[in-house]
Symmetry: C2
Subunit: 481 residues, 2 copies
């Protein structure tokens, strides 16, 4: 018997030949039970067209795994096999999990601080543009991307997609009971590309920007679609499920539907990837147990509610949409780079996370936020600078601290680490009440110019320090004794 | 009989010799009845020290006025006289009144758009500094100033005043029943100086920044003080009464006191000057009938509540404190000039009014907001630019219009005049739905660079116009056909 090896949190894939007649997407049931020591995990397979069936599995433990298939078709049933799960390769830290209520880490314990961006329909653009998007992402600070499964019809984005998710055509209509494997193979390829870049794919399962009918398929088709995509994608460690973008603008579905769809995803996903849903105006009730974190859109420039939402839901708060750097006419897409960077700093210092987007007018309507391509803005460089500061911090998590007052925010860890941020205020000095009996080293950070200026000496207790008297200044205070 | 002339809204002053013994401030009652045609107005006189009593009167109608004095002292009683009220001199438009619920005009009907500043303790500084303040004001766009009667004890302002309002001394304490006429003569001189510059004196009657006991004199002394200052100052047409600054920080007085003090001022003031009260955190109930307008402090950078407050109170909304241009450590005093100018534009376009202040660190702690002196900031020039735009508008009042949307504000008059303001958003284009069947000329205004760029041609209906794609841009649209 040939021996197979799969790295931990890699993908073990079984390919089987089976029936191509009838409608295999509907008629054929296929699962596999994966067994390791005392554990059995049941995984759904899927039909990949042309008589090919696949089952994908992401092992989470090293050692020997056995499997056996289950199907209502004899040729797919009772297939057995095994593989050896070996240690993960460099850069593979497993899927992202919640840590300490408000934060994240990879499954191997490595901290994960989301610094996301938004390219809703990048996979539906011409191949060369997709490649350019990946090139851009590779050089960027972003480790999460919000992206839609379905093509998008919206301002600056009205082209037809490369592939359609179902059999049929724009002219003849769609057979929602027959998936187009080519579409999903392409989606998977792009999720894998992101995985190799260390980028979490925040996959948006439904959205309202639709002219094809994919937003309005009815409950049966919706659920079949959800089970299918979970079967295909959940073995990718970098997958997050976003039930919808602007769910409250999807007119055909109500809260009961969303509750049900959350549960379908939750029940079908053997790995329990992160799950959320993104609002336009009205929050979905994030306290529901199947919601792992908040994925918020806000229309206000200040992120002062992060603290309130942390307390209320005891979950991580991701401001996944707070406007984009750009110059289009809509208020959500014409922030200055300074303002988007300010929101990133505000969100992080308040103990939340913020997602980037870019919407500069382009002669061919190639706006990053919709189509990807190249980044032209000034914020990514500053977001990288902030990300480095967060990653270098002597603490894994930034939470609100007592040094926050009405006119300045300060995150970090009480007594250990403080990151104080003044936003567009521009004090030329500041009195700070550091804990007594501990000594801190202090850096003045110009978050826009990306300079870090250490102050001479160590500081303790009530101090007054000089500041540059310009906006976008932070003070970093690290306990050294 | 000698004939006297006083201009309309000027001051006719009667001086009488009377008793200097005992305590004339308490013991002597003095009034005059002024009569013109069918009207009689009763005016309180006051003791000015050294046996001198005065009665001041501001006539509001041209023609012959007669008077007779009333007193509990024979030597002050039953004095008669008359004067001829003549038409006002250039620049004298009378006191400011409320117009159309949300706005102001002078009593002669001339529109008045408040563009105020703040110099709380300017009259308590050395004379040369006061003169400098007046010089600065003369060149400034400001037509209202918030200023305290009592000296101020606060950060950057701990010097003793030139004069004290009562007999006594810091060492020996004060006799609150005996006013210091020198103090009040000086105050009046400065109010008159402002009047001559066309500046409304928004006179703050109480405030909490006190080390002398003036914030805590007890009800009897408070009321005597109020009646005395109203008797002395109400004939000045440029007087506004601000019952207090940060009234909710004055610990010795409660809402019942403030209600009562409002009524004392209202009852004593024959001319019904504008009356308001300024909060720290908690609004006084502006719906009370003796409040003529809102004098608001807000701690948030956006002024989106102006519309709500207009609807709720049906009174003018003055944002008398929304932070100051400066660089001190406190968040209320380290706005950039850009941000303060943005707040001015936002307030005006929302149908409200905004007050300036400046708080730059100074080697001798001469901060404009407390002490006056010189303006060093970049906002006054831009406020002047905005003021000119408002004054040149073909409408007297700016109210919210239907062109306001979630991401842009637009004030003006429906169908006639629109002033659309983008704040720190920076669209490179904008779709605007102008009324059909009317033609508009359009100017692009860079509110920071202070440029006005007319667009070629006339515009009607749904249009899309190019914009500079930078912050602080406004669009002015004026109906021409």
């Amino acid at each position: 018997m040939e021996k197979y090896f799969t790295e931990k949190w890699g993908i073990f894939e079984i390919t089987l030949q089976g029936p191509a007649d009838g409608n295999p997407f509907v008629d054929v049931r296929l699962q596999a039970i994966f067994k390791h020591n005392h554990r059995e995990i049941i995984v759904d397979g899927f039909y990949d067209g042309e008589g090919i069936y696949k089952i994908r599995f992401m092992p989470d433990s090293e050692g020997r795994w056995e499997y056996i298939t289950l199907s209502n078709r004899p040729e797919l049933d009772n297939k057995r096999g095994e593989f050896e799960c070996v240690k993960p390769s460099t850069g593979n830290h497993g899927p992202v999990r919640i840590k300490n209520n408000y934060h994240f880490c990879y499954e191997d314990g490595t901290p994960y601080h989301p610094f996301g961006t938004t390219c809703y329909a990048w996979i539906h653009q011409p191949e060369h543009l997709q490649e350019k998007t990946l090139e851009t992402l590779k050089k960027s600070p972003f480790n999460k991307i919000r992206m839609c499964v379905f093509p998008k019809h919206y301002s600056f984005n009205s082209n037809e997609p490369l592939y359609y998710p179902f059999e049929g055509s724009v002219e003849k209509g769609w057979d929602f009971s027959r998936f187009n494997p080519q579409f999903f193979r392409h989606l998977e390829k792009r999720v894998k590309d992101l995985m190799e870049l260390g980028i979490e794919a925040d996959i948006i399962l439904f959205h309202p920007y639709d002219r094809w009918g994919f937003a309005n398929m009815g409950r049966e088709n919706d659920e079949r679609y959800l089970r299918y995509i979970v079967a295909r994608l959940s073995a990718f460690r970098n997958v997050w499920w976003s039930l919808a973008n602007e769910y409250d603008a999807v007119e055909s579905k109500n809260i009961t539907d969303w509750d049900r769809y959350f549960k379908v995803v939750q029940e079908s996903d053997p790995y329990q990837h992160l799950r959320s849903i993104h609002n336009m105006h009205n929050f979905y009730d994030h306290s529901k147990p199947w919601v792992t974190h908040l994925s918020v859109q806000i229309q206000t420039p200040y992120l002062g509610d992060i603290g309130k939402w942390r307390e209320q839901y005891k979950k991580p708060v991701l401001i996944d949409e707070c406007g984009y750097e750009g110059n289009i006419e809509y208020g959500w897409g014409n922030l200055t780079a300074e303002e988007l960077v300010r929101r990133f700093w505000e969100g992080v210092v308040r103990g939340g996370y913020v997602t980037h987007g870019e919407t500069y007018l382009h002669p061919e309507d190639i706006l990053w936020w919709a189509k990807g391509g190249e980044l032209r803005g000034e914020s990514p460089e500053r977001i990288k600078f902030l990300k480095k500061i967060v990653e270098e911090a002597p603490v894994d998590e930034i939470n609100p601290t007592s040094l926050t007052s009405w006119d300045v925010i300060c995150g970090g860890k009480e007594g250990e680490y403080y990151l104080m941020y003044f936003g567009n205020a521009r004090p030329a000095e500041r009195t700070i009440r550091l804990p007594q009996g501990k000594k801190f080293k202090i850096d003045i950070i110009d978050t826009w110019e990306m300079t870090i200026t250490p102050l001479d000496g160590l500081f303790e207790g009530n101090i007054k320090i000089k500041l540059p008297g310009k906006p976008y200044i932070a003070i970093r205070m690290i306990k050294v004794e």
